[in-house]
Symmetry: C2
C-alpha cells in the first residue's frame, strides 16, 4: 500500500511542473533559495550622491567605473555593485581580489592616459557610506598638491565636449 501521503497519486513531475517536485522537500533547493535571499541579484542600488556627483563610464565584473563630475583632477570612482557594503573587508575574499584587480585596471589606464606624477587610491566613505574607491591622477602643482583632494574646495564642472572626450579615451584605455 502507498504511504498515505496526499501527493502519492499526483502525476510525476514533468517539464511543466518541475517546481512542484523540487519545492519544499529538496535541501538543495532550500539552500539555493537561502543564497538568493542573502545575495539578492537586484538589491544593489547606487547611492544618490554618487549618482549625482559622477557618471558611469564602464561596468565590469564587480564595479561600476564612474568619472567624478569635477575637472580639477582626472578622477575615477569605482563602486562595487554589491548591496549593503561599507568596508572593503565586508566583501567576500573573491570580491576583494576582484576589486584589487579592477583598481589596478583603473590606475594603469589613468596613468597611461594622463601621465600622472602619482596615482592616489582611497576608500574613505566617512560621508557616503556605500563602498566606493577613489582612483585619482595627481600632478605636482595641481589643486591642493601634495595634500589629498577630498574635502578640498568646490567641484568644477567639465565642459561637455572635454568630458565626453575624456570618457571616450578612458573607455578605450580600460578596454585595451
Amino acid at each position: 500500500m502507498a504511504s498515505g501521503s496526499s501527493t502519492t497519486n499526483l502525476p510525476k513531475a514533468h517539464i511543466g511542473n518541475i517546481a512542484i517536485k523540487s519545492k519544499p522537500s529538496s535541501e538543495k533547493t532550500a539552500s539555493l533559495w537561502k543564497t538568493l535571499e542573502e545575495y539578492p541579484l537586484d538589491a544593489f542600488k547606487l547611492d544618490h550622491r554618487l549618482a549625482n556627483d559622477s557618471i558611469s563610464i564602464l561596468k565590469t565584473g564587480l564595479c561600476d567605473f564612474r568619472l567624478a563630475r569635477d575637472c580639477r583632477w582626472p578622477w575615477l570612482i569605482l563602486v562595487p555593485q554589491r548591496a549593503d557594503i561599507t568596508e572593503i573587508f565586508e566583501l567576500t575574499p573573491l570580491d576583494q581580489v576582484m576589486l584589487t584587480f579592477e583598481t589596478e585596471l583603473a590606475s594603469t589606464a589613468l596613468k597611461k592616459v594622463t601621465g600622472a606624477t602619482k596615482i592616489n587610491v582611497a576608500a574613505i566613505g566617512n560621508i557616503v557610506r556605500q563602498l566606493h574607491v577613489h582612483v585619482v591622477a595627481r600632478f605636482e602643482g595641481d589643486p591642493n598638491w601634495p595634500d589629498p583632494i577630498w574635502g578640498y574646495g568646490k567641484a568644477e564642472a567639465y565642459e561637455d565636449a572635454k568630458r565626453d572626450q575624456f570618457i571616450e579615451t578612458m573607455r578605450e584605455a580600460l578596454s585595451s
Copy 2:
C-alpha cells in the same frame, strides 16, 4: 674528430664543479640570475620619513605593519617590503593579493580593537613615494572628521605607556 671547442677534453661535471657545467651556457641559470638581479632579496630599505614617523609592530609575508606616531587617530601604516615600488600596480599580481588580505587583516583588527565608525584605507604617497597604505580608525567628531586626516594639523605624540599598551593590543588582534 671533435669540434675544436676548447672544453671538449675537460672532465665531465660532477658534484664539485657543477657550476662550470651550468654557468654560461644554461638558459635556466641565466634566467635565475636575471630574476635575482631584478628582485634582490635584501634591497628593500624603509624610507627614513616612514621610519621616523611610525613604529614597527609586526612583520608579515609582505608588509611591515607600523603604528603612526600620532595619537589623534588609531592609525596603521602598511609598508610592502619590496624595493623601488611607488604604485600598487607596480607590485606583482601575487603581491597585490597579499596586500589586499594584509590590509583586510589590519582593517578588521583596528575595527575590533577601537570600535571605529569607519575605517579609511588609502595609498596616497604624493610626498613619501615608497609605497605605503594607511589604515585609519575614524570616529564622528575626531580631528578633521569627516574629511581625511592627511595634511591636517600637526602630529601629537602618544604617552609612552598608552602607546605601548595600544601596540600590545593591536599585536594580539593581528595575530588572533
